[in-house]
Amino acid sequence: MDDTSLLHIDDLDVTLPTAAGPLRAVRGMNLSLRKGEALGIVGESGSGKSMTALALMRLLPPGARLRAGALRYAGHDLEAMPDADFAAQIAGRGIAMIFQEPMTSLNPVYTIERQMTELMVRDGASAARARERALYLLDRVKVPDPAHRLRSYPHQLSGGQRQRVMIAMALMTEPQLLIADEPTTALDVTVQAQILELLAELRQEFGMAMILITHDLAVVANAVDRVMVMYGGQPLESGPARTVLGDPRHPYTRGLLECAPGKAGRHARLNAIPGIVPSLVDPLPGCVFGPRCAHATAECRNGDIARTPRDAQGWFRCLHPQAAAQPAIATRANTADTGVAQPPARPSADIVLSATHITRTFSQRKGIFGKPYQVRAVDDASLQVAHGETVAVVGESGSGKSTLARILLGLDDPDQGEVRLDGRPVAGLSAAERARLVQPVFQDPYSSLNPRRPVGEIVARPLALHGEAGAADLRRETLRMLERVGLPQRVIHSYPNQLSGGQRQRVAIARALILRPRLLLCDEPTSALDVSVQAQILNLLQDLQEEFGLSMLFITHDIGVVRKIADRVAVMRDGRIVETGPAGTVLERPSHDYTALLLSSVPTLAHAFAGAA
């Protein structure tokens, strides 16, 4: 171990006890990090990326077993170190960690000052010195008016500000290594861009090493030197960011890059990775990606795959590495071309949904005796969706897009303005008539299905409710619908918690389509899903749109998804629609400043490589 090495992990295994047997959350993890280096760990949910970080910080859930060939940090043997020493020397001092959810990472009953200075004061610094450093760091992370903020409580800060405070707090004790676990996932894209930039700056200034854990390839590409791709608890490929993401050798890395909806145009199909992440309880021998891999052969199943070194730092774990001749980025550009070649669906003049001058104001008051004040959630929004057309509503959190969605669904009434479905005012429609015109698909597949009902009942419910079909018809139609969304017959008796996120979203789509509505209103339908599953769902929605002649209103914050699916785009901010137009025009030549800011904030691979070149 030379003196520039900071962290060395060799052959780390983490096993969690579950009812079904031991779950191998991390297997054969190797990692080394030099001082000041930034490593990105990329993977989908269940890939073991967070578990690796938790193992390092001794934050594993109770019952978890950790085994490692070597686990060294700056000359300390972390495996042999007693908990008390670890808490006194490493946790927070040597290695600091920031988490995904800024809303719950700060203790709501203490002031920012108390939380920031706690560790330094406990280590013997005077309160005044600690406060001085807190002020300096808050200023460095660009929190406005630091002196005032020190006296604030967490609920008085926005999500972005809280994440800045978390970063400043992590830096109080000058750690050598910062572990950031999905630090920007819960934040809006414009805030995400600022936080990533800030992390890069601070790393330079403090000479700190960083492990950035994320599911977003573009975020990694823009923020780190080296990337490790994890899947099913194993690292599959590692190397300099530019090599791994620009010219991946492992089929999984390539698949991930291809299924991210990026530059590829409208109607271009995403190359979704089939299947779902395998169970890590009693995993099959051989390559962990084998069951989903198009290139897998019999020898892939014959025991563990050794690492193949690639260049000075890189390696991959695959017997059938992908040829270098076809870089992933170029492939993506090609699909973009073919996408443009297909004629976009011609929206007819038949207007399915028209909303005119929608305004919705919420009246709130603080406590019983507080003065009521008004929050204008939607402000004079007008929107039209034609037959067979997909309109995307883009906006950040708090822009009013979800309130607008509820109004368009008829679940909430606007204060002013009118919604017409199929030319008739929605206020005059009965619930049953409305249900046949518009159906929703929601964001969170975990809360959008009643956990107490089996899938068959959930899908059949809309038909059963309106009492038009007999039991046999109901069952036949349900099975047909499940088949159409790509689910096997046997899920009809499963409960939602037995399905994966992607499968649940398919059930939600089946329920929405069984009434054959004219408009499908999708509120962030893929943002809770892994990127490979997202591609499957987007492809499915596109197929169903063609088959059923659906119109779609797609509410999202993800510009990549908009590019993939939208004919027209409406950009929302603070309750107003600031720009609308054909997708190509709005995304390529935005006319409103905010749209331009939104677009430039989205991290892209192309941007990362352009910067590096």
Binding site: I276, P278, R434, S448, G486, L487
Partner: protein
């Protein structure tokens, strides 16, 4: 392969190939349910205790060796058969007026079960209705229900129950009604918060979007998701109600003598608690058995019926 087929394959790939003939899914579900029941010791123990007590209550006339009200002053305060001076004629001894203690315990099971389940059901009806309405509708209804709750919590329960029984006059049904009418706060608190949480979830919005009415949403979407909590509170309240009946009877305003009730038996035995402890210990043990059985059964039912366990 067309694009559509590929998308379908993507969803199907992770799952096993569909079997040629459709298996009997309902039978599989039943089997899975009984497998969970077999794996749950607490549930089995609770069910066994309650079924045994139920059998005792139903078959009391055949099980009891003596008439529970027959006095024989010659055999007063006999100890149980196994202690010195006991007789095998009176297995668990006799009380102050020479009634067979075992027979009185057996008949007392009837009273305790009827009061426990009756009062818990009345409380359940009141509490769940109020809780679901408050949680789902919010606003003024919620404020009103919360006020009712605060008032109820501020009242001294036992005192109020005593006063009410005193005014109306003691009888079994009055006791059940009053205990039930005073024990609904747990149901309310639990169902109100859960309903508030459930109301926000997307599946409720989805139900509204397919045109469900409020009543349909409450019955079909909300209530099934409250079932687990209601079961737990219910069995807990059964125990509380049995104890409340015992307390009222002990204080003389519950079940009236000579009806055999466990609480009344403890009350009557308290004079002799130091030199005839079994007079208090035996009905006390019976009460304990019933309460623990109800709680074990409730926890077990919650475990085997909750969807999270169906993996």
């Amino acid at each position: 392969m067309t694009n559509q087929d590929k998308t379908l394959a993507a969803g199907l790939a992770a799952t096993a190939p569909p079997p040629a003939a459709e298996p009997d899914f309902d039978a599989q579900r039943r089997q899975a349910f009984w497998r969970r029941v077999r794996g749950h010791r607490g549930l089995q123990a609770g069910a066994a205790i309650l079924l045994a007590l139920l059998a005792v209550a139903v078959f009391a006339p055949w099980l009891a060796p003596h008439d529970p009200n027959a006095q024989s002053l010659a055999y007063r305060l006999l100890p149980p058969a196994w202690s010195e001076g006991g007789s095998w004629t009176y297995l668990l001894g006799t009380d102050q007026v020479g009634r067979d203690y075992l027979s009185r315990l057996i008949y007392g099971t009837r009273i305790s079960l009827v009061v426990g389940f009756g009062a818990a059901s009345i409380g359940c009806l009141i509490g769940v209705t109020l809780g679901v309405c408050a949680g789902y509708f919010g606003g003024r209804i919620d404020s009103l229900v919360s006020f009712l709750l605060t008032s109820q919590l501020a009242l001294p329960g036992l005192l109020l129950a005593m006063a009410l029984v005193f005014i109306i006059g003691p009888s079994l049904w009055v006791v059940i009604g009053i205990i039930g009418g005073l024990h609904w706060t747990y149901y309310l608190v639990v169902t109100r918060t859960s309903t508030m949480r459930l109301r926000q979830l997307d599946f409720v919005a989805a139900a509204r979007a397919i045109g469900s009415s409020r009543r349909q949403i409450l019955w079909h979407e909300i209530l099934p998701n409250l079932l687990n909590q209601i079961i737990v509170v219910f069995t807990f309240e059964v125990g509380i109600a049995v104890l409340a009946e015992a307390a009222l009877s002990f204080l003389g305003v519950g079940i009236q003598p000579p009806t055999p009730s466990w609480g009344l038996m403890i009350a009557e035995g308290k004079m002799a608690i130091f030199h005839r402890p079994w007079l208090v210990v035996l009905p006390g043990m019976a009460l304990f058995l019933l309460v623990i059985g109800a709680n074990l059964l409730g926890d077990g039912l919650r475990d085997v019926t909750s969807p999270e366990k169906r993996n």
